[in-house]
Symmetry: C2
Subunit: 363 residues, 2 copies
Amino acid sequence: MVLKVVQCEANVRPNVRLSTYKEPITTKKITIKEVAAHAGVSYQTVSKVLNRQMQVSKETEQRILNAVRELGYRPNQIARNMRANRSHMIGYSWVPTAPNQANHILDQFLSSMVLEAEAAGYHLLPFPFREGERLVAAYRELIDTGRVDGFVLSSVNYNDPRITFLLERKFPFVAFGRSNPEVDCPYVDIDGADGLCQAMRHLISNGHKQIAAIAWPEDSRVGNDRIRGYFESMLEHKLDIRSGWIERGEGTFEFGREAASRLFRLPAPERPTAIVALNDTQAIGALHAAREHGLEVGRDIAVIGFDDAPMSQYLLPPITTVRQPIREAGRKCVEILVALMKGDQPQEQQVLLQPELIVRTSA
Amino acid sequence: MVLKVVQCEANVRPNVRLSTYKEPITTKKITIKEVAAHAGVSYQTVSKVLNRQMQVSKETEQRILNAVRELGYRPNQIARNMRANRSHMIGYSWVPTAPNQANHILDQFLSSMVLEAEAAGYHLLPFPFREGERLVAAYRELIDTGRVDGFVLSSVNYNDPRITFLLERKFPFVAFGRSNPEVDCPYVDIDGADGLCQAMRHLISNGHKQIAAIAWPEDSRVGNDRIRGYFESMLEHKLDIRSGWIERGEGTFEFGREAASRLFRLPAPERPTAIVALNDTQAIGALHAAREHGLEVGRDIAVIGFDDAPMSQYLLPPITTVRQPIREAGRKCVEILVALMKGDQPQEQQVLLQPELIVRTSA
């Protein structure tokens, strides 16, 4: 059956009328003077009553509040912040991902922070992440121009100059991620070591003894946290670690593929039966290497990733991986920061969240 | 060779000292009164000179500017905005992606807007996307409280009540994506029809005549724009379109898989030799369906996606897809909006950007 189409035009929808939108539209901004005229008082009185700087009779107050409601008057938030010497803004900056790479967490992290902040009367102010000497300058500029009341730091690593600066400046911030162990500052982090321990327990309980790791360079704080779970698990289960089993390199597809290829070329008795990778991108590289070596992942070799990148569920085979509670981390960062900005003592200032192993067919 | 490790501790780095950070740290904020005392003038003079509201002798001006520089004084940006009745903020809201799905564009779109805005003296203010009746309220609230000077709209569709509201309110905005064809408003969009035309040209030049499409529901403006390229190409090349070749449903992996399965079950003479999908997630579903039907993608059946999701390059086979110029779109949105907020006439207010076909092995 052949359909002769003019369907091409189906999408033009000439009869669609704009807007089923019914709400009355205020086309101009109501001023305090209009409220005053409506309530029959001076605008100074309206201002003072709304700012609780003056007591008037119950009746007058009611008249003013009615006028505010009826006219839809909203006091200017910037003016209010100005008087309170507050911006009610939270600065946030992140390292942009390379164009052909995915940022698996930004949407969830940002959405949860934006929601939590709004509920507390704050907004986020994202600003560009600068490398090197200009890194700290961007933070100082925002403080000195009064644009933010606090920061959430991302991409925290060892010797983070932002942390030194903000601690000395006594300016409120929360780090998403830990820095050096001796640094005492508010943070929210995800327990990467625990994530690897969960992955290792899963492998070991399935009989694996020869387990290799595709890790990150030694100057990565996050990488070192995760790989610690590998070492601790191997030692705890009294399994030997061959030096050739620890591959360290970038968290890329290419490195994952090369590293796994080297592991597959080890002489049979030394060859690992399972691989843990510190992110899904490396794990996907290992999947490709396995195919190139004629190995079926999930049967001949087990592979576990980290991140639960959304695509991991659609790969063949779907990847067993570690999922991070990103939304909870975003919420917690803002919750602690809001307390700090208000000068309160947060209930807990250092929060370590537990990730969760998602078992699929790659291991 | 077995390595007896104590490597477990390699990451603790007890000797790492915090901070190689050398820049002098200003621990307190400099006030205008301190600048005045340092320069030997009244603070009113400093204020008026810095705001160009008063002329003083060259020598006094120099003394004030020296004091500003030496002490590191920065005028409060909020106070300046307040005087100018400007927030220098751009409101932006997006539909958060479902937890197990990827947002392929947020990082690039947001990063490019944040950079472009900063260069023009603006910051972004992200706020939660509300559904239904509360959608417009969030925009009104930000205008009425003076928090933003303009908006970039995402997830624009037919009959978008935000557009009606902002046009009536005469408040500056740029839509990322078009609404109904009859709506005349500033927008930046990516030419989805052109993307599909490029995909179709590639297939047709490779000899394909029986081409099916996995499309989106008819109420999707973006979906209708993209699928138009399919219809136009088929008609232009005088190829018949069988009714069973147009599958419409959600842009999900599951729908992509089901739709492709139906296509593969068509009787041999009616079976398509190629499939175009409106996003990579549907295309990945089609890849899985092909495998289930014993078809090798790239040899027995061609599949093209749309989006160039970062993972698409790592699939087996890597997906041929349409890449969108997201960074350019972000830059353009802010460029046009900044002109509108300043009351200038932007050079062009309606921009359609061309996507690019990325040929890999799936087609």
